[in-house]
Symmetry: C2
Subunit: 935 residues, 2 copies
Amino acid sequence: MVKRVYAFGEGTKEMKALLGGKGANLSEMTNLGLRVPPGFTITTSTCNDFFQAKGEFPDGLWEEVLEHVKALEEKTGKILGDPEKPLLVSVRSGAPISMPGMMDTVLNLGLDDEVAASLVEQTGDERFVYDAYRRLITMFGDVVMYAEREKFDEVHEAEKEREGVKGDTELSVEGLKRTVAGQKKVFKKEVGREFPTDPYEQLKLAIAAVFNSWNIPRAVTYRRAEGIPDDMGTACNIQTMVFGNMGWNSGSGVMFTRDPADGEKGLFGELLFNAQGEDVVAGIRTPIKLADLHKEQPELYAELEDIAEKLETHYTDMQDLEFTIEKGVLYILQTRTGKRTARSAIKIAVDMANEGLIDRETALMRLTPGNVDQLLHPQFDPASKDAARSRGDLLTVGLNASPGAASGVAIFDADRAEERGKEGESVILVRPETTPDDVNGMIVSRGFLTQHGGGTSHAAVVARGWGKPCVAGAEEIRINLQDSSFTVKGRTFREGDWISVDGATGEVFAGVIETKVPNIEEELELQQALQWADQVRRLGVRTNADNPEDSRRARMFGAEGIGLCRTEHMFFDQEGEEISRRENIVTMILQSDAAAPVLRRIADLENRLEDSPGDESLLTELESLRKVADADPAVKKYREALDAILPFQRKDFEGIFEAMDGLPVIVRLIDPPMHEFLPPREELIEETTRLRCTGEDTEKLEEREAILRVVESMWETNPMLGLRGCRAGLMYPGLTEMQTRAIFEAACNMAKKGIDVQPEVMIPLTSHINELQAEREKLERVAKDVMAEKGVNLHYMFGTMIEIPRAALTADEVAKASDFFSFGTNDLTQMTFGISRDDAEGKFLLNFVDRGLLPANPFQQLDWDGVGQLMDICVKKGRETNPELEIGICGEHGGDPHSIEFCHIVGLDYVSCSPYRIPIARLAAAQSEIKHREA
Amino acid sequence: MVKRVYAFGEGTKEMKALLGGKGANLSEMTNLGLRVPPGFTITTSTCNDFFQAKGEFPDGLWEEVLEHVKALEEKTGKILGDPEKPLLVSVRSGAPISMPGMMDTVLNLGLDDEVAASLVEQTGDERFVYDAYRRLITMFGDVVMYAEREKFDEVHEAEKEREGVKGDTELSVEGLKRTVAGQKKVFKKEVGREFPTDPYEQLKLAIAAVFNSWNIPRAVTYRRAEGIPDDMGTACNIQTMVFGNMGWNSGSGVMFTRDPADGEKGLFGELLFNAQGEDVVAGIRTPIKLADLHKEQPELYAELEDIAEKLETHYTDMQDLEFTIEKGVLYILQTRTGKRTARSAIKIAVDMANEGLIDRETALMRLTPGNVDQLLHPQFDPASKDAARSRGDLLTVGLNASPGAASGVAIFDADRAEERGKEGESVILVRPETTPDDVNGMIVSRGFLTQHGGGTSHAAVVARGWGKPCVAGAEEIRINLQDSSFTVKGRTFREGDWISVDGATGEVFAGVIETKVPNIEEELELQQALQWADQVRRLGVRTNADNPEDSRRARMFGAEGIGLCRTEHMFFDQEGEEISRRENIVTMILQSDAAAPVLRRIADLENRLEDSPGDESLLTELESLRKVADADPAVKKYREALDAILPFQRKDFEGIFEAMDGLPVIVRLIDPPMHEFLPPREELIEETTRLRCTGEDTEKLEEREAILRVVESMWETNPMLGLRGCRAGLMYPGLTEMQTRAIFEAACNMAKKGIDVQPEVMIPLTSHINELQAEREKLERVAKDVMAEKGVNLHYMFGTMIEIPRAALTADEVAKASDFFSFGTNDLTQMTFGISRDDAEGKFLLNFVDRGLLPANPFQQLDWDGVGQLMDICVKKGRETNPELEIGICGEHGGDPHSIEFCHIVGLDYVSCSPYRIPIARLAAAQSEIKHREA
């Protein structure tokens, strides 16, 4: 015969599956010798048997319950149903995992008229007894018998109305007694039978109700959603009641073994004498802080301290306890791992490891990436935020695109933002979407708010890179750029109006909210934890950084190199430079239609001559083409434009190499489609139509029409799948060479200054080995030329981004021309899913995630099954033909812990992420190693 | 000692690798007893040894050559260098594979002044002898000694000028003699030594020259490009000269054993008496046709017939021979497999199989898909086309997007095309690009010409589907829609001007070109071959067809079902219908912003209630939401719009099911992005800007602005990766249900009429199993409802298109909810390569193919390594969890032989292609089976 009932003490904390979380801990504490009111637990497997028996008690259950009641009676000297020495019990559900919809507690089981009268005598507190009785009938009717709770409450309300009082506690004892009487009538009417005065019947019904609550729709739905098996079942706990309101040597309290707010060691909690648990919550009197108890009741404090240490030592974690003192005797009613703030979590874990309570790896596993993230970004003061909410100042909730919080004046234009930001104002840049053109204004802004775009939009990526808050895709706001305003929920905000954005939640508020700004260098426990993480992890952690400042910041956060330096931003104008970079790249693009074909043909002939050095006909053609090219004004302009940009790119690279002295730096060649450097098509259409219509400025019209023609000729329906990445390098002659020259000139110059430079040049968007090979040949040639010119010999690598499924699938080929791979999982996810990140989030992706059609947003969390499978194929095939291959990831996923875990599993060498994600990545990498380490 | 030299007869036709193609066949014919002028072949491996020995004759070679010369002298009774009985020989290169750049023939080796004088005596033909001598010196100087050919020719030209004649044959014998003398001087000056009169020295130098020609740059480049190994080497053939110009009982001729134009059996070729081979080509006299030889010289004819039969029986294929008659004796100089037209190829293969010369499978392997294609499409008469070319009427060459050829008047607007086409005019529709809106005009057009778009653009796909010629992406033409004209190379063509398009070559001509139109039903040999193919092939062949007419045509071509019926065209207006389909779908889209969210929520609640039938709170919410929806005018319009389209869709499906009686029909639910039904964004921007500027029509302005707002809100940067396919079904409530209802109502109605319907409904663009599952649930529900209503029980299947890499990678999951898969390789290629087919072809793709950066256009020829690898993964994983899974392909590749071969290899069940590709697919499927069949 299977054992169905365990007295507290018969089980252990490891038996959660059988006894539920609550029951297992009550047993554990009993065994620890803590004073727990005696009781017993009916197992979860009994719950299953109950359903097998179609809702009847399975054979032997009731008999076993009765035996345990008898044992309780013997232990307490009280008897169930005996008015003289009444034993009162509580009945609680308790599943292995806490879940919504499960049966509420029924307290005070065992009460009836007679017992109540006797209890009044013993406690001298009629209010307490009849209030308890009223609650029992209500709870029993509602929870156990499924009657409508409102009907019971109506009786209570009517009594209060009759006496003209509002609060429950103001009702007279007579009123309470009338309530009890009235509720019994309601019970009979609603349930169809008298309120059961037989405590055994009460008990039996309550136990059945606990089991039945396992299958109510809310619980079932929750289990389906969470993937919790239906046959897990719930346990049922029956426990002797103790009362903290039996005089001034009684009381109820809650206690944390360390401060849940800041993690400081020492008891933290509250105690209210002569009161029950619910009174503490209701706040009828001011409870005493446990810290103060030290002076007032040193013995009690010592006892609590003793319990706290016992439990912490035993559970090796901070505990959250409930206790009751009945007539000077301290009982522990519950213990569980205490919830805590991020700061507290980090301090507690590090302290406990330093105290020797846990080892360092356990400490690391206690931390969540969210803990670390919170300590790195400004946050709104919760009270101040609540106040704003209750003022009705919460305007909308957009996408939480980059964590942190900031208040500032709304500014709708990047140049204006730059202006006001430099005057020292706090600025929030508000745009329909941002583009690289807005970067000057973004630099000085405290945060960004965009109407469109998702978590991987330009604004979001830039914001995360700089650690600034960003709320993106706040589709409810309507921006009107004409008059610099936005409207939401009928309120209009103009330039200079204060708003606040919380990038961690996506909330946008009107007005100012108080902000707390952390400083990572002062977070000593965090620094300690991260050092431990560094000792454990196998994955390297690099950063995505495009300029010296970001590089330095990333180093401070612990970056071990640059995994992605994007060069496209370097084509935009930068302050204090006389020559316009942008103008030059635009010139290059505008001339390319005329200049590129002949230059491509020349390069092609040069290549073919390398294979067939003696070929007269190739030589002849080449010579004549060179003459044609040299005489062509378009070619001249094209070449001059490229030449003009080189020194600025070189300067940028020099700064980055200097900042990353001794560490590897991956520079990616220009990636986005060239038309991003030109004005948007629709803007040009509107402008030319207007100019044509008004006939005002024919000169300007001609100029704009000329640009529009170029834009139209470059127009792509799906630019994501278009002429970009290495394709641009292959179609715009000299572009790759110019960038490579800038990189190697910078590297050689810095090397001469004694800096340890480790350049790795990355070719983007490879889909076929031939493309890579062709680009790589150019790189090799230029690198050798420059090093010969400079008389410097550098160690360098050439590799490719893996962001196209085909590159991953044919990695064995691609690896033959690569020293390294870096997964561009943003694009790889787009193509593997066939989802455009720029468009999809607002249009259907988030809706699909909400509806469970997708398990998660694959742009935030790497899709292990699909994209991950490609990565796995790629790593295996790549290393097959090139065992030395260095493999990393530089997509947004490089800073996401769930994704980092996958990178660890498939054996990447490093992850690369934005500077502010680096501490998280270091932790996640260590956790992955610990979790997956072979025993 | 390895054997380096083989006398003709010592080798066989199988020894091509060692003796080269020419040498092997000369040996073979010698062995067959045919009269071949004796000679010998130096092996290809000797060529390698020659390079090993750094350009010296390897040990023993010269001795072996001398032995064989001696044997020749014995056999012929002539002696090399002997003026009395001079032996003259030719020296020819002959690699296993013919390739450009290899050494030209040197004839008449063995001539010098003395021999020449003696020969004049013997032949009595001074002109012949000195002309031969002149040629020997020129060829020897140019080909063997690498002197400049021009210098030799200059001497000849000067002699002709001196005599005031133009043609070579007009030059006097004296002139020829002076030429010989002059050329000898040139030889000395250019080469630095006297022309070698020692025939052995001539021979030695000529052999070395043959070997050296293996490594000239042109040959090396060609080998690199074609992947031919450098160590293949060339053989060298030395053969006794025979002369067809030794009187009227001598002659030279060429002969095909069957007619290379139409395949008819019987000798085909020409013979010229008293002439050498080059005279036949030069056309100095009219040669006699071999067919006529029958009457004139029956014995000679019989001898030729006998040789033809011998060679055909031996080589089991039609042969192309060269022969010479010297003083009544017939010599065969060369035989090789004869080139032939498509028609001839098919007839010869089928005839030979029927004659028992080859088996049927060999006959099938002799055919190329190109042969079949040519017989299915109209073609320009070659002479007429040449004439147009020489008139300068070739305007440009675009992409050869759909085969066939047509002349017609250029029309620039679909409605105008419809008008004039219905008046009986031949119309070529000329558009920047076509859209589904142009279909009415496309139906009546003979062919299409587009400025933009590639091989998978709308125009190209429609054209191939209908078997009409299309030239796409003719970027050189500039279309001006305002005045209905296009300009190219300075010529302007207006509406009504005649043009001609050749879709097989991409050529566009001015004016009319004579066209030949084939009729497949009259092509009996083709029909025969395809029946044989059907008996062999394992792959099924279905068609892509969207309407009853196409379905019927495809059946005629041999389709075994519909593999893809696209439903999106059914949303456009069709003639004779009172209700506008398009207006209704536009209404649905315009209302969806307001109507869709509540309807989605209702559907969601209904689903959740199926899981938790008793949930009160869900029920309550559902009821109230239903009331909200029913009262909402947007919802009303939305629903009415969908309802209005249903009967038309049903009608379309009924026609298709009827046409496909007894065969499976895969209907794909609507796939493209919804904004394709709305006016283009840029058009609206232009229009609203103009209206705003002129202030003319404020009412229209408001209406257009309203549409623009919707278009803007639906705008996607990359629509290919956007809200389309099953995503639309999941975001537009009721759309999938409406389509499913139309399909099943149609199927039930037809079944009741006794038609055998086999519907398979295909869900497009699945990326995650959950999406498929959600859509499938709707399908199942509606299908069951309709069948219950109609009282019909049908066999049906539900499946999905595999066009997103993730679906292929997770096929084991996806297969759980699929009865069939169909590869949409157009999209799958786009996403696997990260290349947008709409944009890339003109922008970089074709350029990359030209430059060898991509081995082929992956949208025409399936990329086995990348896309194919995904397909392979998908097939294996899919069948793992669902062994019954039916798997096919419906992308454009389904009609491409190279792609079909891959489909066969990975074990697909069928391919599906446009009707006109079906015969090709049948052949390709059979060839794949034969090629890959296990022995």
